[in-house]
Assembly symmetry: D2
Homo-oligomer: 357 residues x 4
């Protein structure tokens, strides 16, 4: 169950404080130029320790490609990538060996498996998302060659909302902020929470431009359903919206329907899909990240013997996981769209005759 | 892509105005008593035409089991169920043969497949969800035998929120309302929209009690991710929340973390899962349904030749799809939990030795 | 696990003496003309009771399409087909309610599931293969439109081998014999065994012409591997050969290699594939069917209480299952090739740009 | 398509002359002691260069575990293993850059993907099977803890058949021979072919002891079908037999049926399964390997421009791939049985109540 996707597939491995993390990307069409610099650049955007808004753990996150690329081009065989862990401080975790950190997966992993690698959360650590970003970058390369671009940014932190969406600005912002004017307030909220040994939640908006009509597979592999799965499966995600999202409960049908004209849809309340299939408009998804469970205030918990314990956090942690989470949402959206693009290939006879005749 | 689930699997078929709809449920463990009355009762809760809050289309939705059950008990072989369509009025749709209804999947199906069964939306009609309810009912039977119960109800319509959650009341309410006091206001909103030839959105809360710790598969088959996929894949769903959902952006980590005590979790902000694995608390999911796209006001659209057209709806339609959608969310949650319960069986050696020694 | 295929998928249901058997065919590209007469014709070739070489059970095997076809053409949605059972004589089986028939799946089903539908073998009956033939016929229609033709026939019965391969003759032969001259000897062997209350084994050769280069997915969905799975999964199959098959142990590399010339391969020892991928030559597969386990001689067995019993067969049975098995091998090969044709669509960027640009 | 298995899953990567090969093993139950020495020992049995019966390429095949094991025990998370290539001589292959070697996958890879890593066959090289052996070894560890043992050996080379089956002897034989008396003749055949710049085929017998009743999933994941897929998917395999295999065509039903007694089956013509489900007897499979296509005689072929060319082999090659193939069959059988053991866990309610109550 460590594989995501049906035709464009990523299988990841690795724990926060193990030797390495990585992934195998399977199903990449042959003949795609693999731009290693782009892959590394995406990893660099996600890597920790770039500012005081993030955890102090320093990881280079240098990716090495082990297979599937020949003379710079994909061969159609699986592309394995590995990122060695270099900055583990496993001792930080000796005090939680027998303890369940509130808001973390310690409790559930222990009970599910009867054993857990407690160092830094082991497999449940968000460190695993580096592998997704590496795999997602290859999906992005494929999509780019089809004219599809994916962008992301922070729309809300601690209840403070962006008023405009400037994706180009977000790329340069250390907060991945979409609104330059609002960014200082959002940053202040993060730092204030950090000072108070607490954490804040945030919301990421992710969009795709240039998506052709027809991606998404009814009935149980719809584009919206898969994006919801992809985003909700990211660590700390608690809600996913497509298009108007939760706002639909305040709209009438006559307001929410997107009128169709010969020049396209007049509005995009739908977020770019109808019946789970892309309609050619921009794909728009929002993901809500909970405040980081790792806080430096004492917390009530139990140990593996179910005895009450007070838990005092050590280690290094992000005060707002949504910030770096933005890059992960890009990767997940790319993986979904790449998979959908491949799945759609055989959906009409006209396509088959184009390829086989 | 008409199959949902990995081990407990449902494959559905059928169009709104075809001969029949139905499903094959595969992976049902042998030895489960199949209570046909319960399956029919769930279908009866979902079927249309029960009140003026719903479409006037009358369907008996009588289910017939064709296989997989012997002397009232599941045999471990696939259970096929069929529901014949009886009350189609396909003529209602002759005027949309070449037209794309705004807010519907007509546009995307046509472009994806190059052909569509336009009668009542064909495969994209919510009529398909009857097959899910039939399959979900078998999942519910399996879960019940393990002590797991699933419930649902309306928490919000047109912005009017329930103040309390009375799942027993919801079962008797024609609105599936969770709050008896608020129900008249919600009902009024639906009827008012209907009078105005318009429609309203709504929110369904779905929960499961008695879920053991350990269900959900990291990394890419997490319980929250799968519930998000399951709910977002229901017709008209536009947002899914787990536990606090969108509210997490207003909470600090110290508020959102659920403290752990020897008697269990003190709060349930998480909605019953950590790291994508159930924690033994109640599973809580909210699904936002958009206002029905079928409204009786004239709308702007195009035909298949991309000429501008005015569209005037005919046919029979629900003014608020969330109401009957509640039953579908139960089915989807049941399908997810049944699958997770089977997947979890082989997750530790201790389980294997219990079965094989 | 009642689904076969990844993109072109068939899910079957039904028991020998239940109400009906049938299937859902998912993944059929939209825009394929569905020739119902061809589907029925394939079922008619497989149906029992056509000659004294077969079981006396008479089934019309009339197929009804319930969904997925609109105005004679596939819509890209699942095609459900149902065949009602009409000629069950379940009473024939009351004496085996608690008994395990040697050579049949009674013993293993009972121990695996703890319950079994004993009437005619229930799900394990070869009657299920009618559903495969129906689904396979749709695959054959898709392949035909791409210029691929599948044929089959009997090459050996009870050790008596065909000396030539006349697939056109096989279609008219009640034995599906490939060699008209040898057919009388093979027929005699079947009838002799029948007279002696015994049964014989047989070998079916199945081939595909017009297969393009490139079908088959390394590493674990190779064309040869999938054909082996497909054929070995047919009731009573015990060996599968590709090309030279078991003969390769008598050949040197210099004899077995197929030399390549500008006009194609000089020989076809490989059976039309290299590295699990079709090479453009004819696909050639042989399947060995064991003698029918249902024989009219007394046999030693046990009952469900593990008491020794003598078993005396009643009912109606084929003396040589290979004969009707030939039609099933065509269906299975068609399902494999249709799946491979769809999977191959997204294997190079050149294909993607053809579809999306 | 580089993943094998449904619950116990192996995903492999790597090319013959790339940086590394390896695999991710997913679905290993938590709590299994991971004996690294056993994994290495299996790799050592398969590795090349151990005798003059094998290729002269020397690879240490040292495996490194990157994840999924904590304090010597599986944690339920994916186990990644990597084997670095050390003894590549890629220059040996410069002369085949534009040439298709007869009997190899060069022709089909080139046409399928439009690009190929020609060094040593790239992904299509049997070197990939080292990754299977590593993954299969973990499956074997799991099976051992359930009392299941897998063994293999050579039964036939170049038409010379073993007269007895001594699996213990095979482990010590450099030919993996099952019959010590016959071994010198088989060895002579291999060396004679090598001297003549040719190669020979061989047959491997693989068996499993201690398999419980009930493994294998009807209808399309039967034990025999999956073993056929697993074995036929090994490089150079051309036929697979279960139990009596091709001999069934010479037997009557009364001879081939295995009588059942209170003490078990009297014979094992079936090879340990009925209806695709294990019956508790020994699992017996035979795999036929073609003579190595790499021979040192001049061969007729074409280049990528379809011009006729004479091909003269360079490099280092096995004269009989069946010998080392034996170890790979063990790995593949282990992967199938481990998967079946996990799949069977949820097949009856009795099992579920054992785990969840």
């Amino acid at each position: 169950m460590n594989t995501f996707g049906k035709l464009f597939r990523i299988t990841t491995f690795g724990e926060s404080h193990g030797k390495a993390i990585g992934c195998i990307v399977d199903g990449v069409p042959a003949g795609l130029k693999i731009d290693e610099e782009f892959i590394q650049a995406q990893l660099d955007r996600r890597k920790p320790g770039k500012s005081k808004l993030e955890t102090a753990r320093k990881e280079d996150d240098k990716v090495e490609i082990l297979s599937g690329v020949f003379e710079g081009v994909s061969t159609g065989t699986p592309i394995a990538m590995v990122i060695y862990n270099t900055n583990q401080k496993s001792k930080d975790y000796s005090n939680i060996k027998d303890l369940f950190r509130p808001g973390h997966a310690d409790f559930t992993y222990y009970h599910k498996y009867g054993i857990r690698d407690y160092r830094g959360g082991g497999r449940s650590s968000a460190r695993e998302t580096a592998a997704r970003v590496a795999g997602g970058a290859i999906a992005q390369l494929m999509l780019k060659s089809l004219g599809i671009e994916i962008q992301s940014g922070i729309v809300e932190i601690d209840g403070i909302k962006a008023q405009k969406l400037d994706f180009e600005y977000a790329k340069t912002s250390k907060l991945n902020a979409l609104d330059k004017e609002i960014e200082p307030l959002q940053e202040e909220a993060v730092l204030k929470a950090k000072d108070q040994h607490d954490s804040v939640g945030g919301v990421v908006l992710t969009r795709a431009k240039g998506v052709p009509v027809g991606l998404g597979e009814p009935m149980y592999y719809k584009l919206d359903a898969l994006l919801a799965e992809a985003m909700m499966g990211i660590n700390a995600a608690k809600a996913v919206e497509i298009g108007e999202g939760v706002e639909v409960v305040h709209l009438k049908g006559s307001q929410n329907n997107d009128a169709i004209t010969p020049d396209g849809f007049k509005t995009n309340h739908s977020g770019g899909m109808l019946g789970g299939i892309s309609n050619g408009d921009e794909i728009v998804v929002k993901t809500y990240f909970k405040p980081t469970p790792s806080i430096f205030k004492p917390q009530e918990t139990v140990d593996i013997h179910n005895n009450a314990q007070e838990y005092n956090l050590q280690g290094r942690h992000d005060p707002c996981v949504a910030i770096r989470g933005a890059i992960v949402t890009e990767a997940m959206m790319a993986l979904v769209l790449a998979d959908m693009a491949l799945l759609n290939m055989g959906k009409k006879m006209e396509h088959l005759t184009k390829i086989y005749n």
